[in-house]
Symmetry: C2
Subunit: 218 residues, 2 copies
């Protein structure tokens, strides 16, 4: 476990917890290391999930399958990312998603009920952990809410403008987006070429200027 301490210490879930204390926590939370070969599933749709997972090595997909069997990648996980915290915490009986590793990976699984119910020793950092959990969940909430507002716009143009402006409040008029075109289109839930079309129209209309993933609001 020590081997992965440098990763664990960067996980937001363990913010403001000393490295030594993280190790104690791992015991406290019945942490178990698991190795997966590329393509293996950590859990699948319908499973009961009561472990929070943290990716220590490699990468994974969170996948949603609908009734017809179509698969959609909801998000990608890499080192230091965690998953299943909302599912555990909400007490969902059957997972609505699957998690599949996209390369050989190592994952640590933590017993969720141990997170919630402070241990008998009631370590101080355990309180901090719960606080962090709340913080993490609240932030995810807000991020989801933001994305909802963008996607719920009816025209592609307003989706783009909305998104760029939401970044602009922090970055100013010159905005760098964390996507390439395809990812950008996925984020906005539109077709890639439709997005390209619309972007060039917006440039023509003098609304924006851009090159690759750097945009300028005019």
């Amino acid at each position: 476990m020590k081997k992965y301490l440098s990763i664990l210490s960067k996980v937001k879930l363990f913010d403001n917890i000393e490295e030594a204390d993280i190790l104690s926590l791992m015991t406290c939370l019945e942490a178990r290391l698991h190795n997966y070969k590329k393509g293996e599933f950590i859990f699948t749709t319908g499973d009961r999930v009561d472990n929070v997972g943290i990716v220590l090595r490699g990468s994974a997909y969170i996948i949603k399958e609908n009734i017809e069997g179509d698969r959609t990648i909801i998000s990608t996980l890499s080192e230091g990312d965690y998953f299943a915290e909302a599912i555990c915490c909400a007490g969902v009986e059957e997972s609505p998603v699957s998690v599949q590793v996209s390369s050989d990976a190592t994952v640590v699984l933590l017993n969720f009920s141990r997170i919630l119910h402070t241990c008998s020793k009631s370590c101080l950092f355990h309180t901090k952990l719960i606080e962090n959990m709340l913080y993490v969940m609240a932030n995810k909430n807000i991020a989801l809410q933001n994305r909802m507002e963008i996607i719920s716009q009816k025209s592609l143009r307003s989706k783009v403008i909305n998104y760029l402006q939401s970044l602009a409040t922090r970055q100013g008029r010159n905005v760098t987006i964390p996507f390439n075109r395809e990812e950008f289109a996925d984020f906005l839930c539109v077709d890639r070429s439709s997005l390209s079309h619309e972007l060039s129209r917006m440039k023509q209309d003098g609304l924006i200027d851009y090159h690759k993933n750097k945009f300028k609001l005019l």
Copy 2:
């Protein structure tokens, strides 16, 4: 405060907390009652928010305003609903939304940092409160995630099917939706008449049958 105890006891945030203990909590959390006249704002976009609010009487809107000044109702609040918990918890500096009462209303505001940091008396139910908070937030998370998956579908038809099927897993083939047409359209982020058009096409194609808010998957 006692006057509103029957409402407070039904709030999920106070699940499994005795009525007597809720009253103690109110002191603990520096609860303050506020009355608002119809149309007044509880807080507005950009404000620093560090109180969680619970509606005790009347109703309110959560409103998002974009840069052009267009206003969208993100959600409506009625008795027993609470708001601003994610904003507080995520430590957001400037609120991304406003809350406006849509009828004369009474609201109780709770000091969020008191929720997070158990009081010196470290009342047992305080721990329960934090647990509930996590639970509530996680569930909201999952609900948001579900809705995202639905509105991220590209065609109106697949949005409808996706939504109905998500209900069908719980309700079976005969599904009752909690919306009228306009609300349904808003939920799916589409035009009302477009939705009506598509629904009748789907009926024609033998995919569904419906009357008002009762649907049947075929």
